[in-house]
Amino acid sequence: MTTVARQQRTRIVVVDDHAVVRAGLVDVLEGWRGFTVVASAGTAAEAMAAVARHRPDVAVVDLKLPDLSGTELCRRLREQEGGPRVLVYTGFSHRDHAVEAFRAGADGFVTKSGDLDLVRRAVLAVASGLAFVDPVLVAGLLDLATEGLRHNGPNGLSMQERRVLERVAQGRTNGQVAGDLGLSPETVRTHLRRAMRKLGATDRQQAALLALKDSPSPSPPAGDPLAPADPGQEGTT
């Protein structure tokens, strides 16, 4: 362990409760140009002491530590004035662990199942002030981010577009559909135009067929279909 600050190098503290993992990670990091490991620690207490002493650029932190959760360590490290950027390096690969760590202030999250180059890219990213997300977690995190937005049915049709198409399929004219749904004929035409665009259909009949073939028609939405959409609610008007 060296206490000499080498300029231009990213100074790293490695925190992991497994001695073998710790030693391996130190070796790997030291082997890459531009990185130097200034200290390693097996517990959160050791980590706090090492960080206070060496003022590293980056702390690479395991989530499972004997004295404190890695998430809590993240929080404490990030609360410090001039504290290091934190990269979580863990065997846990569930998105909830990542969310928890990011909420605690982690800058990056990498699982131990990935290849080592991922660690190198992650350290580089967090050291330069960017975030880093393990590619295996991206889909899970985006699921979480889009949960509330996925109210549209298959084909990306809105409820209203689907309602219009259902009536077209029943042979109703635009004027009748407008009457059925309490819309202006112009709005009905707009819904049809959008639905056709989404479906790649060339006419309204084809759009109706395409929309209804892929999925059973949904049960009618709760509430009065004639009521204007609440702007606070999801749904395309």
Binding site: R95, A98, V99, F102, R103, G108, R121, A125, L130, A131, F132, V133, P135, V136, V138, A139, L141, L142, L144, A145, T146, E147, G148, L149, R150, H151, N152, N155, G156, E186, T187, T190, R193, R194, R197, K198, L199, G200, L210, P231, G232, Q233, E234, G235, T236, T237
Partner: protein
């Protein structure tokens, strides 16, 4: 460098059939996507066969082999990105849509994911990122440009886009995008295919949820937060 099955182990669809080499069929939609030399190089290095370049999705011909990947330039289509992606998926069933954009913003990412896009790449990112994107989506996974990692994190923490504890809906986000681009209500309405009245309602909700006093503040907020 050759495209090969990714870590997920799913195979790349066999294509081309030329002298037994595995070749990935890529359709490019948009004027600027592959203009720069390094992108052409990236694709060439990938054993990629750019089957066609189109100015817009309306030029897609029915029939023929479906491209494995469609690189869709976000600025190509005069419609919201989710509609463009849905339209591409509809015209080319089974193709994996990778969206190219000036920046990978929150709205682009969320609307794109909801509509089924499989990849997001910023125009300014290099050939290596594009290669990575192709490899990832061909392996069946979702790819987001590493330069936009913070967007993914923030959106996951906020469960979308949140402001003062209130989440914004997709229609609101689309309107916000138009606002931030400096469009008038009527222009946003035309772009989204809704009435100007509806746009006005959405603007009202946005003002209420964000606590902004006017459209200008909304536009500034959206830009500052990287939403649009």
């Amino acid at each position: 460098m050759r495209v090969h099955p990714g870590p997920a182990g799913r195979s790349v669809p066999a294509g081309g059939g030329e002298s037994g080499t595995r070749c990935v069929r890529v359709l490019v939609v948009g004027p600027v996507t592959l203009d720069s030399e390094h992108r052409q190089e990236a694709l060439a290095g990938c054993a990629v066969n750019v089957v066609d370049r189109l100015d817009g999705l309306d030029q897609v011909r029915v029939g023929g082999a479906t491209p494995h990947v469609t690189l869709l330039d976000a600025c190509t289509e005069d419609q919201p990105i989710d509609e463009a992606v849905a339209s591409a998926a509809q015209r080319l069933p089974g193709t994996r849509v990778v969206v190219f954009a000036e920046r990978v913003t929150t709205v682009l990412l969320l609307a794109g994911v909801v509509s089924g896009a499989r990849g997001f790449v910023a125009r300014s990112s290099g050939a290596a990122v594009l290669r990575q994107a192709l490899r990832t989506v061909l392996a069946g996974a979702l790819f987001v440009d590493p330069a936009a990692a913070h967007v993914v994190v923030q959106a996951a923490l906020d469960r979308g886009v949140a402001c003062g504890g209130q989440r914004l809906t997709l229609p609101q986000l689309r309107v916000l995008e138009g606002l931030a681009a400096g469009l008038k209500n009527a222009e946003i309405a035309a772009r989204l295919g809704v009435s100007a009245e509806t746009v006005k309602d959405h603007v009202g909700s946005l003002l209420r949820k964000t606590g902004c006093r006017n459209r200008t503040e909304l536009a500034l907020l959206a830009t500052r937060e990287g939403w649009t």
